[in-house]
Structure formats: C-alpha cells, structure tokens
C-alpha cells in the first residue's frame, strides 16, 4: 500500500509542478489544486497507513497506535483541506479579475513578446 500511495503522491506532485510552471492562469490554478491534494495525502500518510483502523477510542480496547490509527494527521488534513479550498477560491476570483482587466489569461496579464 505504501508504494501505491507514494506513486499517487509522486504523480500528483509531478503534474502539479508542471502545471504551476505553465503560463496560463487556469493551468496554474489546477496545478496548485493538484499540489494541495498531494500534500494532503502526504500528511495523511505520515500517521502511518492502516486499513480498518479507526481514530476514535472505543471501550474495551487499549488506546495505543497498535489498535487505532493516529488521529492527529487526519485532523491536520481536515484543516489543510479547508484552508486550501478557501485560498483556491480566492485565487479563482483574482484569476477572473485579471482576465477581465487585461483580456488575457496569461499569468503576467500580457503575452510574452518574442
């Protein structure tokens, strides 16, 4: 499972970095979104990956990481998702404003001159 998750994160980061370096604002936006997915998965995976384990303590089971998965990375991911969602929305607004003000979807507001 570790290999699958690392491959997924790697592919997301690679695509995200490539898109962020593109000149179109929408590509940059999608790149940032992919990067934030990758980071969220990464945070999730530092709590050690586990199948069928809950982060909530139940009666009758000792409260240690052998019986439960670490709840802190999950709560961190939750916060990170909210924040990156909000900033992506804000980025979208600025993107549209730039598009409206300059009639261009280039990140610099104008096409590159050769």
């Amino acid at each position: 499972m570790e290999v699958v998750v690392s491959l997924a994160i790697g592919v997301l980061v690679a695509s995200g970095v490539w898109l962020v370096l593109r000149p179109r604002t929408f590509q940059v936006l999608i790149g940032l979104a992919l990067l934030s997915y990758a980071v969220n998965l990464f945070i999730f995976s530092v709590g050690s990956l586990a199948i069928d384990k809950e982060p909530i303590v139940q009666a009758g089971q000792p409260a240690d990481l052998l019986h439960y998965t670490d709840p802190i990375p999950q709560s961190l991911v939750l916060t990170a998702i909210v924040i990156s969602f909000a900033t992506t929305a804000l980025y979208l607004v600025v993107l549209l404003a730039l598009r409206g003000l300059t009639d261009s979807d280039h990140v610099d507001g104008e096409e590159e001159r050769p």
């Binding site: 934030s36 980071v39 990375p73 990170a80 924040i83 900033t87 804000l90 730039l98 507001g109």
Partner: protein, 553 residues
C-alpha cells in the same frame, strides 16, 4: 514559573480583540465609514496598550515568559500561547506599525475599497497569533490567516497592476504554504508532536536513522519561512507586490517579512541550539550565506531603483538579509543587535512607504495639470467625485485635513530621518543597531558559532558596503526630490497623513534616546532565545486550571 494571575488572561487579548473587532466591523455594513474607522482605531489603540503592558510585565517577570492554555488541556496535547520577550517585542512592533498605517489610511485610502477595516483587523489577528502561538500547526493556521488578509489588502484599491501582482503573490505564497505543510508533516512524523517546546525536547532523542528525515523536514519548513521573509533567491515577488500595494497597505506589509524572520529565529533557536547534539546549529551556514546573498541583492537593488517605493522594497530585502545572516551566527550578542535593528528598520520602512505617496504627490503636482492627478498616481476610487483642484478629492477633506504650510519642510525632514535610519548613519537608531552588530561580530570568538571567520569578515564588510550603497541610493533620490531647482507648488498634505509618519520616526528617535534600556531588554530576549530550555521549561510547567479540568469526561 509561577504564572501571575492577571497576565494569563491578558495573553488572549491580542488574538481575541482583533477577531472580535473584525466581526463587529463586518456587521456594521459598508457605508458607515466613520463608525468603522473609529472602532478600528480604538481597537488598535487598545491592542497597542495591551501589547505594551504585556511587554512591561514579561520584562519584570524573570527569565521565563508567560504561558496560556486556551483549551485548558495539559501541555503537549492542547494549543499553547506562549509569551516571551521576543514575542512581546514583535506584538508591540506589529501593532504600532499597524496603527500608523491605519491612521494614514484614514485620510482617504480606507474608502478605496469595501472591506479595508475588517481585513486590517484580520491581518493583525494573524500577526499576533503567529507571534504568540507555541504550536507548529497553529502557527500554520495563523500564517494562513495573515496571508489571506494580506491577499485582500494587496488588492485594496483595485486596478490591473494590483491584480496582476496579487496573482503572483498569491501563487508564491500558496506554494510556500504547501511547503510549510510538508515540513510540519515530516517533523510530526519524526517526533510525534506539534508542540514546539515538546518537539525541541524530543529532538536530541531522535534515532540516527530518522535524523535525515528530520533535517529534510526542518529544511523544507525553513524554505517556506525564507520565501515569506524575502530571502534570496525566493524574493522576486516582493518588490512588485509591495510597490503595487496602496501606501498604508505597503506600510503595514513591512512587518510581514519579519514574521518569516521571527519563525526562523524562534524555531531554529529552539530546535537546533548548540546543545542539540548531532543536529547542533543545523543549517547555520545556509542562514549566514543566504542572508549575505540577500543583503547584497537588496543593496544592489536599492542602488538600481529609480523610485522611492522600489527602493523601500529593496531596503526590506536588505534588512531581511542582515537579520538572517546575523541570526545564523547563533550568538546572543549578535541576535540582540539584530533585534534592535529589526525594530528600528521596520519602523523606518513603514514610514518610508507612507512617505512615498506624499512625495509622489508633491512631484506629480509640479509636472501634471491638476486634473491628471486623479487619473495618474492616485487611485480611481469607486466612489470618487470629479475633482478640479490639486489637493484631493473626496468630501471628507474639510473634516480631517488641511494644507500644511510647512509641508515641504516636513517631507524633507521626514525623508532625511527615514533615510538616516535605513542607511544606518549616525545619530539615529539604524546606526545604533549597526554598530551593535558590528561590535558583536568583532567580539564573537572564532569558531564558536556555526560559521567561521570568513563568514564573519564577509558580513562585516557587507554591512558597511551595503550601508554605503543605501545612503548613495537614498541621497540620489533625496537630491532629485528636494534639491533639484524646480518651480514647485507646495504639496498639500493632511495632518492625518503626517501624524503617523511623525510618530514612526519619533519612535525611532525614542529607540536612540532610550537605547540603553532597549538594548538591555533585547539582550535578555536574545539570552532567553539561546537558552531554549527556559522556553521549554516554562511551557512544560503550565498546568490546566484544576476546577474546570475535573468536569471533563
């Protein structure tokens, strides 16, 4: 540490007060400019008073600081607010700079967009929270709060230039925030805690196999902070963004790069002191040489800029470089001098950004026909009326301002004072900071720090050369502004615009006159920073309030 009864709850005020004020301001509605302004100023004044009280208390409080447990959970589990001398200094500095920018904006800028006042308070909330928090993830949240507010403030006033630079600014800060998250996640994976004091305590016990991961996490985290601090080569966003921002916003942003510096200083001194065993002073070389490269970049940028706004931005970069390089040596005396320099240069940089607009206006008045002024450097306000006179604009003119007869004299004196502080020339506070740094560099025993004598002498030379370059650049602009023989109608300033500049520069003067107690305070602050066990002990010693604790399940 025995917590003083009243300190504890006062610690929460710098976080809660801006939050409450922002909420009230949002609910007030968009059109009630006067009421919003009054509430905003009153709240910021109160915040400044609280910050000063906190600073005085923490100073009389012995070597350790005060700690507050907002959730009343025991230490490694709950969120911690911790106040030491450094945090108190940054609180006072941020609120003072904010207050000056706010007063300046009251002349007209606060009407240029809808939500200036709530955004301003949220920015203050993020800043204060970042300075107070003792929890790494909480630090991330407060960083995001202050960045989100800064995105809004940067856009304040509108226009293609601001939107374009905002897009770059937001992209770079989003990527830096992602790096921040990766760093936090790695450090959590290695140490199993997010509490900064707890983490510092566990670091020496990290097994050797994990040490590489730990260093990678710390380095990624540092890259995020350095991008925010404007360290070379991660600072290409800084000059365009700050140059495009409206004057009071740019003035307030002068403190933003210092948050990055603060985070580096706090975490680095806490996690990698000389006593940290295998990780002692990890990254010191990178800080020192990276800081020097930033300083050189900033100094060359200052000489190459033709506008005062750009020059002020590059002076901020140069300040960041100076601070990073001096912090990287890990010597208490150098850190104390760097903190003094930080305080004085932040105040001066804010004053410069505020002056920029007044100077541009003065120059514009002589070149352009009066009507052009509204369309040119001044923003086209959403609710602007058509204007026929040189001096400004909207209907509140008779309420707040009047033309100063000595406007030009004021501009000249203010510019000279600000330039002396930024260039570090005697007799003002920039000079005291630089001399303190230079003498500490001479004193530092060779080889005792992370960087060798080559780094020490390079920094020594670079500090002097950069001061020379800064004074050349500032003098050139000053000559063009004030001494060039031109038929010049006296610029029209408002008192509301002059008072904050006067206050900021006055604060620089106070730093000189009261230099001895200020340096004594900063030496104590640096001493505490370089003995991280004091911070760790004071955080570990914090206990939840028993009566409430017992009612928990």
């Amino acid at each position: 540490m025995t917590p003083l009864p009243a300190v504890d709850h006062l610690l929460l005020v710098p976080v809660l007060l801006p939050l409450a004020t922002a909420t009230v301001l949002l609910m007030l509605g968009e059109q009630r400019h006067a009421a919003r302004a009054v509430i905003d100023v009153a709240s910021t004044l109160l915040g400044l008073a609280v910050a000063i009280v906190l600073l005085l208390r923490v100073d009389s409080h012995g070597p350790t600081g005060a700690v507050y447990l907002p959730g009343n959970w025991p230490v490694p589990f709950g969120i911690v607010l911790a106040l030491d001398r450094l945090a108190a200094l940054m609180l006072v500095l941020a609120t003072a700079v904010g207050l000056a920018s706010l007063l300046f904006s009251l002349a007209r800028w606060h009407r240029a967009g809808v939500h200036f006042h709530p955004l301003f308070q949220l920015q203050l909330l993020g800043l204060n929270g970042a300075f107070l928090t003792g929890d790494l993830f909480n630090l991330f949240v407060f960083f995001e709060v202050l960045l989100a507010a800064s995105y809004g403030l940067l856009l304040h006033g509108g226009g293609a230039a601001r939107v374009r630079t905002s897009l770059h600014y937001i992209s770079i800060n989003l990527i830096a925030s992602l790096l921040f998250l990766i760093g936090v996640a790695l450090l959590y994976g290695v140490t199993g805690t997010l509490n900064m004091a707890d983490m510092a305590e566990r670091l020496p016990h990290v097994p050797a196999a994990d040490r590489g991961l730990l260093h990678a996490g710390a380095a990624i985290l540092a890259v995020a902070f350095l991008a925010k601090a404007g360290a070379w080569p991660l600072n290409s966003w800084l000059a365009p963004a700050y140059g495009a921002a409206s004057a009071p916003v740019a003035g307030f942003f002068a403190i933003l790069t210092k948050v990055g510096i603060y985070a580096v200083l706090r975490l680095w001194s806490l996690c990698f002191p000389e006593s940290a065993g295998a990780s002692a002073l990890y990254g010191a070389e990178a800080l020192v040489w990276g800081g020097m490269a930033t300083l050189a970049f900033g100094a060359v940028g200052m000489v190459s800029s033709q506008q005062l706004g750009r020059l002020a931005s590059f002076s901020i970069i140069a300040t960041s470089g100076t601070l990073l390089a001096t912090i990287g040596f890990g010597r208490p005396a150098l850190t104390a001098a760097a903190l003094f320099y930080l305080a004085s240069s932040t105040l001066a940089a804010t004053a410069m950004y505020l002056l920029v607009e007044l100077l541009e206006r003065a120059r514009q008045a002589e070149i352009d026909p009066p009507v052009e002024i509204v369309a040119g450097p001044l923003p086209a306000f959403v609710d602007a009326r058509s204007v026929g006179v040189v001096n400004l604009d909207d209907q509140e003119a008779p309420l707040i301002g009047r033309a100063l007869p000595a406007a030009l004299a004021f501009l000249g004196v203010a510019f000279a004072v600000g330039a002396l502080v930024i260039a570090g020339l005697p007799p003002l506070s920039g000079f005291v900071g630089k001399v303190a740094m230079l003498s500490a560099l001479l004193d530092a025993e060779a080889g005792a720090s992370g960087a060798g004598p080559a780094a020490r002498w390079s920094l020594f030379a670079l500090l002097i050369v950069s001061g020379l370059l800064a004074s050349i650049a500032l003098m050139r602009i000053g000559i063009r502004q004030f001494w060039a023989p031109q038929e010049r109608p006296a610029p029209h300033l408002r008192i509301a615009e002059c008072v904050p500049i006067g206050l900021l520069l006055g604060a620089c003067l106070v730093l000189v006159v009261r230099g001895e107690p200020a340096l004594r305070y900063l030496r104590d602050a640096a001493e505490n920073l370089h003995r991280p066990e004091r911070y760790i002990d004071s955080v570990r010693a914090a206990r939840p309030v028993a009566a409430i604790r017992e009612t928990r399940p």
